[in-house]
């Protein structure tokens, strides 16, 4: 019998590790991998409500980032600013419902907490040309001095709403709704073809 509680990647049918695209001197300059399994929780609340901001700090260990596009981190957890009063908490899988429960227990009724771990596909691009690949798709300012590590922005790639984060130098995570996962993977790998790209095994 199929185990319906087992998490299956949206990319499972097309994910193949190896080296693809153009053959370039020095080897591929973009590396792809799917980030999984992750715990992802959508957090909404009023940042000036002390019960909420203190609750978030208790649950994840960092203060709410209130500057648009900022990311706060605490250990392996990132708290990404999505919009005024909305954030996304992301960390390696802590087990079914565990991160959501931590936020609910700490925030009580002061915030709206939703577990969206199963609803997102997260694609990581890294390497010298990762930035160039994203520039082909999203109408954002990707200048090295603007889109720096610790910054995030929501935009669209190939008309799909995406969240793009920059966790480290020349490393980007692209979050899309699970149903758009395969399309986004195919779009991004196609865009990286001219640089040559590698696909690594999924990791958190």
């Amino acid at each position: 019998m199929v185990d319906l509680t087992e998490r299956v990647s949206a990319l499972a049918a097309i994910y193949e590790t190896g080296t693809f695209g153009a053959t370039v001197d020095g080897g591929p300059s973009v590396a792809f991998s799917e980030r999984r399994p992750l715990s992802i929780v959508h957090v909404a609340g009023k940042p000036d409500d002390k019960a909420f901001s203190d609750g978030v700090k208790t649950a994840c260990g960092c203060d709410l980032p209130t500057t648009p596009g900022d990311i706060a981190t605490s250990g392996d957890l990132s708290l990404v600013w999505l919009a005024p009063e909305r954030w996304l908490a992301v960390c390696p899988n802590r087990g079914s419902g565990v991160l959501e429960a931590a936020f609910r227990d700490a925030c009580g009724d002061s915030g709206a907490i939703i577990d969206v771990s199963h609803g997102r596909t997260v694609i990581r691009l890294s390497g010298a040309n990762a930035r160039t690949v994203l520039m082909k798709g999203a109408p954002l300012d990707f200048h090295k001095k603007v889109f720096t590590p610790g910054r995030a922005a929501q935009s669209a790639i190939s008309q799909c709403g995406t969240l793009i984060t920059c966790p480290a130098e020349d490393t980007f995570d692209v979050y899309v709704f699970r149903a758009f996962g395969q399309h986004m993977w195919e779009w991004l790998t196609d865009a990286a073809g001219e640089f040559g790209y590698s696909v690594e095994t999924p990791a958190t």
Binding site: L82, A83, P84, P139, A153, S155, A156
Partner: protein, 96 residues
């Protein structure tokens, strides 16, 4: 074309959607619900819109970004945007 989201800053037009006229006012509750004048006010509120040439206050949404609604003062002739701001703030600029 760039539009300045009050939160995210300058972003491309394709991230935004137009959400209508920001100047329409919901009719006040009348003393008598059967008042014919109220029907007329509601008809105007729901269906009738001005089509101004020049500066116009509009509602926009940054729907592929932070998803917030905001107000923008746009010139319908030149497409210049003089000011954008949150719903609860007055816009400045233009010749209004």
């Amino acid at each position: 074309m760039l539009i300045k989201c009050p939160w995210c800053g300058d972003r491309a037009l394709q991230e935004f959607s137009y959400q209508g006229d920001a100047t329409v006012q919901r009719p006040a509750e009348p003393a008598e619900p059967t008042d014919a004048k109220w029907d007329d006010e509601w008809y105007q509120f729901v269906y009738l819109r001005d089509d101004p040439k020049g500066w116009h206050d509009e509602l926009w949404q940054h729907n592929l970004g932070c998803r917030k609604h905001f107000k923008a003062r746009r010139n319908t002739v030149t497409h210049e945007i003089a000011d954008t701001g949150p719903m609860n703030e007055e816009l400045k600029g233009g010749d209004k």
